[in-house]
Symmetry: C2
Subunit: 172 residues, 2 copies
Amino acid sequence: MRDDGRVTSAATRRRMSAGELAIWRALVDTTAELRRILGAQLLRDSGLSPADYHVLLALSEANGGRLRSSELAAEIDWERSRLSHHLGRMERRGLIRRDDCSTDNRGAEVSLTEDGTRMFRGATAPHARAVKRHFADALTPEQFEALDDILRTLQNHLHPEQAAITREDLHV
Amino acid sequence: MRDDGRVTSAATRRRMSAGELAIWRALVDTTAELRRILGAQLLRDSGLSPADYHVLLALSEANGGRLRSSELAAEIDWERSRLSHHLGRMERRGLIRRDDCSTDNRGAEVSLTEDGTRMFRGATAPHARAVKRHFADALTPEQFEALDDILRTLQNHLHPEQAAITREDLHV
DNA sequence: CAGATTTGATTGACACGTCAATCATATGCT
DNA sequence: AGCATATGATTGACGTGTCAATCAAATCTG
């Protein structure tokens, strides 16, 4: 609920202003540029693409460094097909392994290889530094707070059903 | 320059906090989801991909609906190779045309076809509505203002040399 | 239990993006 | 003019993402 009494998901009749559209475009452009810069840097520093990094991060945080393929997909919010293609490429490069699942013969268990673990560990620090340098160093604490609020608002708008969870935690 | 006296580009010694990293990840995830949703919607509504739309927008805003290939690339900030590939695909579909440039025999002039013009016009309104519905409707005016500020700050950080230009136009 | 349906995962086709190499024309230099 | 170099643009190879189709194993249902 907001000052004017509208609920987040309520449709309003007015058209979107040019300024709002411009901010949308700026958001897309700026985040695309940041992703491009940080992705290229990550690749140079570690030989891993952002997608590789994302997969390895989820696996390394999982218990025993192994996950069912579908759990992994849910964890990083990827389509199964996309994950399957990407795991194929990562398997070819020796970053991960796929074994048959003992409890479900349809399933696959994805696990980190030693190479994958090592490459991921090597990538973490430089990547964090790059994010800091290109993104975090630019913003004030107030801007971080505002951005956090905006992103939560957008997420709540995209997924209204999960909106209540964080509501309690903030502003009491 | 900021309240604490640091200049935007100054390196700070402290490490990036976990919260800042989380906000970076939320920014990437949320914008990716928005792009995915709006891109799929655009494609369903109009048969145009976001990339198609971007190219057609730049062309339709250009004088006479035609631009040199390199000018177009600069306009939308794409690599030439990317543009060349994409123009090839768009040309096959009859959305644009490439003619030899009269003043420079190396150059190509890109122009809108009637089909391209028509498809672009048809795509504009539903696309704006979708951006409004999924993005603009979520945010308050204050959040827009904060986001605008954050995006400008990030742009200035990415391109320090151009930092002064927009400063005059706003807030007098 | 047999047959239909659902689920976990992969595949193929194709659009998209990046990098390095290429090619032809223009331009600069002596 | 002649040659090196710049520039405008394209190409090929390859990694990536999406959609629809496929396939096998599991589960549901009569």
